[in-house]
């Protein structure tokens, strides 16, 4: 009973404290309130935007049936090369009398003829009659409703290689109507397609991808001259009472068939997750990075709440003197944090939704370039995401408010009647021993092995743990800089206000330490990203420099995507080789194969004769014979192969190992002769002589060609000729390819640049708030200075010195953090997440710029805060 009445009393008092104090303070200082809400909103918005954009950027990876024919139960595909059409007969036979729906599919990449370097389009060939039957059969589809409806298909003309259906979004974006012609580039030739119909959006089935062109299967096979070839067969068991049993029988029969024929049988979900898993590490790293803005935001809220505690200390002391308990005070402050968090998160969710629309394109382009073909779907904000972001924002704010709330609750009532008891800041920040211990522990954590998720993604848990521990450690140790900084500022001569500022640093308070630590964290994390990007750029530039030795590079349309691989026919590449001025060519043909349930690239290459001008691979484990002739090996002996670093990591292979892999000619093996660096994709590549691959795949076409010109030939002029002769091929000079590669690189990191800038802006705003807190604490001291004749400008100058010194400490600590974090990102997180070895580079020039800007802004902010807080009552009255 008594406890009940105490609780009721607590609630009542909390409500009074909330309505009479917190709300009124917010109303009195709408600017500060808006700033706090804005900071939280920004943190939540960035975090949510990256999450939403990540989702939207990979959700475009949808299988054909998911979009048009409803959900399949299984799919069958070949581990290497296309399926033969005979597979349909085998599948029919294996399913016996069960009525199982089989949907053969051929999928080919294409590009818009008007924009050959734009997004990859998916030309999908399917049995249109079967699709229409499935649609008209209604309930027979596995619950996904009608597929290709009669209205959509109209009079389907079968077997046409020049007609196709597109989705509404596709038609809208290109202003197409049924009957319009649309020009594509497929492999090495232009192809006009007439729009036969528009696939309508239908709420009962997933949205049609905005890059899909649906054709009749025989028509597409004819178009790409691959009669009878299939990418996969999608299988659906009809609905009905027997479905469960039929599904089980089919699964058994087909898995036996797949095993016998060396095929892969999987569910669409398996397929989807195995593909999107590749980019999981990239997306996870981006999400973690996006948390940076929120982390800095948390620190800033902590500072702002601390400043508010200082400002309202007298009020809290009066409340305590009037009988309000510490618990009630703590609860009231936590409630303030909670409401701030909720408001910030709510605004952040709206902002994040808008930001995501802008981000999704950039992320999708990166995913498309580096991992798998994808199209963006529209950004959708579900209730799950709203709740997650709301809880995340509130939790962050409450965490940030915890220490200030504790500090507020610790205010003694006696402070109402005496002056001078100040405080603030974390006691932890004074413990140098703890800082040093954590430094050692943090470095040790970096050696912990990565953690593997159930989905197979390697999470560099040790690296992240080390990063967190090191950040905490150095944010504690940054406090040791105050004494030397005070010495530098002080001295017996010169500006007395500078000496006054130095005296403040001689005995730094908790707030000084907290401010420098917060700034160090923000600068440290941003600068670490700078080191990572600089190291990446340096490595990539020297890799490209070493690799790109030819004069002109030619690729089939659609080869810019990591997974899309167009082909150049033998007739075309021979014609290209015979052009005037062309001295020789390196040719590469790349196939996607599945080894040990992982998709990797199998590449066949052949090189022209001049060894001096061949691409110089960057060797991580060099072969004994580096020349490409060695790859060909002797007839009858096991072929030699070079593997890329991601391949070596994913399949745990190394020099001297024998690797087995599937080909249409059966399982083949090769001995690894060397391991080379490859920053072009994360799938991993096994590179052999094309002499072998063309035989195994019965395919003399190639995907990419490096063209070497005769001495003295102008590459631009030859490029003009190539473009004129082969309009369907994408060709670039060496210089253009280099600049294009770097452009894509910077585009990939565009998001990180924005996040870095946000973190530093938030941190400098934090410094302003911290200075406000410090000066409010010293109100009496400032009044004394004024009574001694110091002007507002003098006090502002002292504040500027102090702010600059704090910023200098933060910068020094931040750079120390960044060197260690950079080391962890490059040597621990990056190899474990992506399998890439980078050279460690520090962008000194950028750091100098960051230092100058931060110091200048910090001094200006501190000056303004000093000027504002140094006013006496007489100033206000004036």
């Amino acid at each position: 009973m008594r406890r009940g009445s105490i609780l009721a009393g607590d609630r009542r008092i909390s409500s009074v404290l909330w309505s009479r104090f917190a709300l009124r303070h917010w109303r009195q200082e709408p600017g500060l309130t808006a700033l706090l809400v804005g900071i939280l909103a920004l943190g939540v918005a960035v975090f949510l935007a990256v999450r939403l954009a990540n989702k939207a950027a990979v959700s475009g990876f949808s299988l054909f049936t998911e979009s048009v024919a409803g959900e399949s139960d299984f799919l069958i595909r070949s581990p290497a090369g296309p399926l033969g059409v005979g597979i349909l007969r085998d599948l029919r036979r294996a399913s016996g009398t069960d009525a199982v729906g089989l949907f053969p599919v051929l999928e080919v990449p294409a590009v818009d003829a008007k924009n050959p370097e734009g997004a990859i389009l998916r030309l999908v060939g399917a049995d249109l009659v079967a699709l229409q039957n499935a649609a008209n059969d209604g309930g027979s589809a596995a619950g996904s409703g009608p597929s290709l409806t009669a209205e959509e298909s109209g009079e389907v003309v079968l077997g046409r290689e020049d007609m196709g259906f597109v989705g509404e979004a596709f038609a809208r974006a290109r202003n197409l109507e049924p009957g319009d012609e649309y020009s594509l580039l497929v492999n090495d030739r232009p192809v006009p397609i007439t729009v036969q119909g528009i696939l309508q959006e239908n709420p009962t089935r997933p949205a049609v991808p905005d890059n899909l062109i649906l054709m009749d299967l025989p028509g597409l096979q004819k178009l790409v001259e691959e009669e009878g070839a299939l990418s996969r067969v999608e299988i659906r068991v009809p609905l009905g009472a027997e479905r469960g049993r039929v599904l089980e029988r089919t699964r058994l029969a087909y898995s036996q068939l797949a095993e016998r024929k060396d095929l892969i049988m999987e569910t669409p979900e398996d397929r989807k997750s195995s593909v999107t898993r590749m980019s999981a590490a990239f997306r996870m790293n981006l999400t973690i990075l996006s948390g940076l803005a929120l982390v800095v935001g948390v620190y800033l809220i902590m500072q702002a709440m601390e400043a508010a505690v200082v400002k309202r200390r007298a009020e809290i002391a009066i409340l305590r003197a009037l009988g309000v308990t510490p618990r009630q005070i703590r609860r009231a402050w936590l409630l303030e944090s909670l409401v701030l968090g909720a408001a910030g998160a709510a605004v952040g969710i709206l902002l994040g939704r808008l930001l995501a629309t802008g981000l999704v394109g950039a992320i999708a382009r990166t995913v498309d370039t580096m991992y798998h073909q994808t199209t963006t779907s529209s950004v959708t904000l579900g209730w799950g995401e709203v709740l997650f972001s709301l809880s995340f924002g509130i939790a962050a704010s409450v965490v940030a408010g915890f220490l200030p709330a504790r500090e507020a609750a610790a205010t003694p009532p006696a402070q109402a009647v005496r002056q001078g008891v100040q405080g603030g800041g974390l006691a932890l920040l004074r413990k140098k021993g703890v800082g040093l211990t954590l430094l050692v522990v943090g470095i040790a954590c970096a050696w912990l092995p990565p953690f593997q998720t159930s989905g197979g993604t390697l999470v560099p848990a040790g690296g992240y743990l080390a990063a967190i521990v090191l950040v905490v450690s150095l944010s504690i140790l940054v406090g040791i800089l105050f004494t030397p900084l005070s010495g530098l500022l002080g001295g017996r001569e010169g500006d007395p206000m500078r000496r006054y500022a130095a005296s403040q640093l001689r005995r730094p308070g908790g707030r000084h330490r907290l401010t420098a630590a917060g700034l160090a964290v923000a600068v440290g994390m941003s600068a670490a990203m700078g080191i990572l990007v600089a190291s990446f750029e340096h490595t990539l530039t020297s890799w490209i420099g070493q690799l790109l030795k030819a004069d002109i590079y030619v690729a089939a349309a659609g080869s810019s995507s990591a997974a899309g691989e167009g082909t150049i026919s033998p007739e075309t590449w021979r014609r290209l080789g015979n052009l005037r001025g062309v001295a020789g060519m390196d040719k590469l043909r790349r196939y996607t194969i599945t080894v040990e349930e992982r998709e990797v690239f199998l590449a066949g290459s052949d090189y022209h004769g001049d060894a001096r001008r061949r691409p110089q691979l960057v060797w991580l484990d060099a072969p004994d014979e580096p020349g490409p002739e060695a790859l060909r090996g002797e007839e009858g002996s096991i072929p030699l192969a070079w593997i890329s670093e991601p391949f070596a990591r994913r399949l745990e292979a190394g020099k001297g190992d024998v690797v087995e892999f599937p080909t249409p000619a059966g399982t083949k093996s090769a001995r690894v002769a060397g391991v080379y660096a490859d920053y072009g994709n994360e799938f991993g590549t096994i590179l052999l002589s094309r002499h072998h691959t063309s035989r195994w795949f019965q395919d003399d076409s190639v995907s990419r060609i490096a063209v070497y010109l005769e001495g003295g030939k102008d590459a631009e002029k030859v490029l003009e000729t190539i473009r004129g002769e082969f309009p369907a091929l994408v060709s670039r000079t060496n210089a253009r390819l280099r600049s294009e590669s770097l452009r894509i690189f910077h585009q990939t990191f565009a998001v990180t640049y924005a996040l870095e800038a946000i973190a530093v802006v938030i941190a400098v705003a934090g410094l302003g708030l911290a200075m406000t807190g410090l000066l409010l604490e010293r109100k009496n001291e400032l009044a004394t200075l004024r009574s001694l004749g110091a002007s507002r400008r003098s006090i502002a100058r002292a504040a500027a010195w102090e702010g600059s010194a704090l910023a200098a400490a933060g910068l020094a600590g931040g750079f120390a953090i960044s060197f260690l974090l950079g080391w962890i990102l490059i040597f621990v997180v990056n190899p474990q997440s992506f399998g890439w070895t980078l050279a460690y580079r520090i962008p000194w020039l950028s750091f100098a710029g960051l230092t100058a800007v931060t110091l200048a802004v910090a001094a200006a902010v501190a000056w303004a805060v000093g000027h504002r807080n140094a006013n006496l009552r007489s100033d206000r009255e004036d």
């Binding site: 009074v16 104090f21 009124r24 009195q28 009066i318 003197a321 009988g323 308990t325």
Partner: protein
């Protein structure tokens, strides 16, 4: 039962003794002045009696309740229900109007709104602030602020009012008016009052005057009246 009983009270700050065994008592409704030079321990004694600060040794009993037996929660309750303090610098809550400042302790005690408003209205009239009740603290004069502080102290119907230099920050005319008010409310309610002061003027409303020196009560006398 005495309104206040202090026995052998001691208190040190950083090893320096401030109170060295103070004993005094107040009957219900009695007003006493505590005088003495700066640093003699007057304000410290007041803070200890109000449960605002903790003492090292001795005993304090307020209306029969021993202070040392109370935990933090209990001391808060004591300040909400039994002992009220009037400060030299008023210590009004700057975000609340005069009316709300007076109302606030009643809100803390969960007094129903209708009773609360009536009571505050009565108090506002009693201290003569009917026309200023909606003003914010920074809009009030020193005398008005102290009237609000007195009304706030009275709102909880305390057994004991501790006044720390209640006229120390006021001009003489206003100070006289405040003393009259304190006397009036103490008389009318029978509330005991211990007034710390430097000013002899204050003693005119007190039955007894005690003098403190070096942390001890060194002299006691009846008021000049």
């Amino acid at each position: 039962m005495k309104a206040l009983q202090v026995s052998r009270l001691t208190k040190s700050y950083d090893g320096d003794p401030v109170l060295r065994g103070v004993s005094l008592s107040l009957e219900p409704g009695e007003r006493a002045a505590l005088m003495g030079p700066s640093g003699s321990g007057k304000s410290t004694l007041l803070n200890l009696i109000g449960g605002i600060d903790r003492y090292d040794g001795g005993e304090i009993e307020i209306s029969g309740r021993k202070l040392e037996a109370l935990d933090e929660e209990g001391r808060c309750r004591l300040r909400r229900e039994t002992v009220a303090t009037v400060f030299q610098f008023f210590h009004l809550l700057p975000t609340l109007t005069a009316f709300e400042n007076i109302e606030f302790p009643l809100q803390l005690n969960g007094v129903p709104e209708a009773d609360r408003l009536r009571k505050v209205q009565d108090l506002v009239e009693e201290v003569g602030l009917e026309h200023r009740s909606r003003a914010m603290p920074h809009e009030l004069s020193g005398g008005e602020m102290q009237r609000v502080a007195i009304a706030r102290a009275l709102s909880i119907e305390p057994r004991l009012i501790l006044a720390d230099e209640p006229t120390g920050n006021l001009d003489s005319t206003t100070g006289e008016a405040i003393l009259d008010l304190l006397e009036k409310v103490s008389e009318s309610r029978g509330v005991a009052m211990l007034v710390v002061t430097h000013s002899l003027r204050v003693t005119r409303i007190c039955r007894r005057t005690m003098e403190m020196k070096d942390g001890l009560v060194v002299g006691r006398s009846a008021a000049a009246e």
